[in-house]
């Protein structure tokens, strides 16, 4: 009898810990939204009705589903926005952001931004808002920028806008040269590329190893490089410490071949497994403020991170070889360079790298609303 009641007690305690009682979140105490007083974007409303907190074991799981309605209160069209999300109490020093590129929001128009996040934190936690949302940046027509730019959102949004202009131009040329049928083929190709693009799961940790159990011997693996014909920066040498499915501390030597000083370079990183499957593993950005390359000078792009590769929910992907390519460059004057469409096509990178946000949006528009909607969209600007 005693044992039976003991077992029943254990099961009951487990069930309480696992199931817990769901509670609705109070938006006033759990979320703080701060936009600067001179912000060109106004917050019209916030909806967090679907948000819940659920105790789970000794922890609390908070599912926060936030829908913000914002209005362009400036005088120029908005091309992109980035919001910074911090949960200081849960991840001290950690932060996140939600960006919406490829926008075309005219002055006075409103637009939605959705933030969905899950926090896992101890049951006993201090007071204060769970999540703080603030504006990191807004990109306007003509690459004008507003915002504190703590997350370097200016650079990301500038690159996305350049890629958008490049890809819109490409699709417009196809429409002009081959008509709607040609554009339709391009859209179908794009959707197929997006669906078939080889994907890989990556786990990142700063410094050290991503896993402590990598038993395979470590060796220094060299990068091969794809040359981009018009790239202002050339990657000339590079290596990373590799053990089985783990690579760490990628280091790449670059030379500025342009006539302008460069202060940021990002290298795309492809990994090939022993079976010959190639994946985009990630990118190696120059550390912030770490690189300044006057014309003709060389420097190093170095990241103190460890990456572990897997697929199909945990099956390790061994690294047989690595390839790098210059994926973006920022000059000291704030302008940027991205590879052109032809170079991506000729190098085979078009099927390896993700489609630009604009191409992704246009292809989705084609899928959901048809060819006429895309043609109309391309004729807008």
């Amino acid at each position: 009898m005693f044992m039976r009641s003991k077992v029943a007690g254990l099961i009951f305690a487990g069930a309480i810990a696992l199931c817990g009682q769901e509670t609705k979140l109070d938006p006033h105490s759990s979320i703080q939204i701060n936009f600067p007083t001179d912000s060109p974007v106004l917050q019209l409303s916030t909806n967090v009705d679907e948000s819940r907190a659920t105790p789970r074991g000794g922890a609390m799981v908070v599912d926060l589903h936030m829908s913000l309605s914002l209005r362009n209160s400036g005088s120029r069209n908005i091309r992109g926005i980035t919001l910074m999300v911090t949960a200081q109490e849960v991840t001290p020093g950690g932060k996140a952001s939600v960006a919406v590129p490829s926008l075309d929001v005219a002055p006075g128009q409103s637009f939605p931004v959705r933030i969905d996040l899950r926090l896992l934190r101890p049951l006993q936690a201090g007071g204060g808002p769970l999540v703080k949302v603030s504006l990191d940046g807004v990109l306007f027509d003509g690459f004008d920028f507003y915002g504190p730019n703590r997350l370097n959102s200016r650079r990301s949004m500038t690159v996305w806008e350049m890629e958008a202009q490049r890809d819109r131009q490409h699709f417009k040329s196809v429409l002009a040269a081959s008509g709607p049928a040609g554009l339709q083929r391009e859209m179908l190709d794009s959707l197929a590329r997006q669906a078939e693009r080889p994907r890989i799961d990556v786990r990142v940790s700063r410094g050290g190893r991503a896993v402590s159990s990598a038993a395979a011997p470590e060796h220094m693996a060299r990068f091969a490089f794809l040359k981009m014909p018009d790239s202002p920066v050339e990657a000339v040498d590079g290596w990373a410490e590799v053990a089985a499915n783990e690579a760490r501390t990628p280091t790449i030597q670059v030379v500025n071949r342009s006539s302008k000083p460069v202060d940021y370079v990002e290298i795309g990183w492809l990994v090939k497994d022993p079976q010959g499957h190639e994946f985009l593993a990630g990118s190696v950005p120059a550390a912030e403020g770490d690189l300044f390359l006057p014309p003709g000078r060389s420097g190093r792009v170095l990241q103190d991170t460890a990456l572990r590769f897997s697929r199909n929910a945990g099956e390790p992907v061994s690294i047989a070889s690595m390839t790098g390519f210059v994926s973006q460059v920022e000059f000291a004057d704030g302008t940027a360079w991205v590879p052109n469409r032809l170079a991506l096509q000729l190098s085979g990178l078009l099927r390896m790298v993700a489609a630009s946000p604009e191409e992704q949006r246009l292809a989705d528009l084609y899928r959901t609303k048809g060819l006429n909607a895309v043609v109309e969209e391309l004729r807008k600007r």
């Binding site: 044992m3 003991k6 305690a13 696992l18 789970r56 074991g57 000794g58 922890a59 799981v61 949960a87 849960v90 991840t91 001290p92 020093g93 950690g94 932060k95 996140a96 952001s97 939600v98 960006a99 919406v100 590129p101 490829s102 637009f111 939605p112 959705r114 933030i115 969905d116 996040l117 899950r118 926090l119 896992l120 101890p122 997350l151 669906a195 693009r197 799961d201 990556v202 786990r203 990142v204 940790s205 700063r206 050290g208 991503a210 990002e266 985009l280 593993a281 990630g282 990118s283 190696v284 950005p285 550390a287 991170t305 990456l307 929910a313 993700a354 946000p357 992704q360 949006r361 989705d364």
Partner: protein, 189 residues
Amino acid sequence: MTKHPSEALLALFAGGDLGSLRRWRVERHVAACTECQLEVSEFSELRAAVPAMMEPPEISWTKLAVEMKANIRLGLEAGECVSAGRSDGRGIFNVRALAVCGSLALLLAAFLLERPTPRIEPVRATEAAFLESSGSGIQSKTGDQSIMLLNTRARDARNVDYLASGNAMRARYVDSETGYVTVNNVYAQ
């Protein structure tokens, strides 16, 4: 779309506990079903969050047997000592039997109290911070705390683009409700 696998099957799949044929069948379904992908990723997270069930404590049966024998012997010897001064042997059996029964009862009680029971240990994740992508989003985790940006509104969960870049990870997708491209970034601590 085939019929959804049961919750139990999805839970076993998330834990890698299915046989190869069933795993293959569930894997095929999950690859094409957003709803099940979400469920699998929730089971995976639950496995990580719920305290690990410890292995039953190691019991040295040899040591226990030696102790049992020693206790029985001790009981018998004690009985002999008590009975040594008595001339008639009527009570000897009873004393010995009592000693043996007492020892056995003691051992049985000890065994019942110490028998292997699952013990729930507090969550003790590794302290090192890391970033990873799962079917439902990108997570930054340190110890037993984590922040995860979800991409549950993605038009097609298979077409979410993840990219590790330096000490950050990015997920890009088309929001099914707004039609806007959304880029979630989580930065390592």
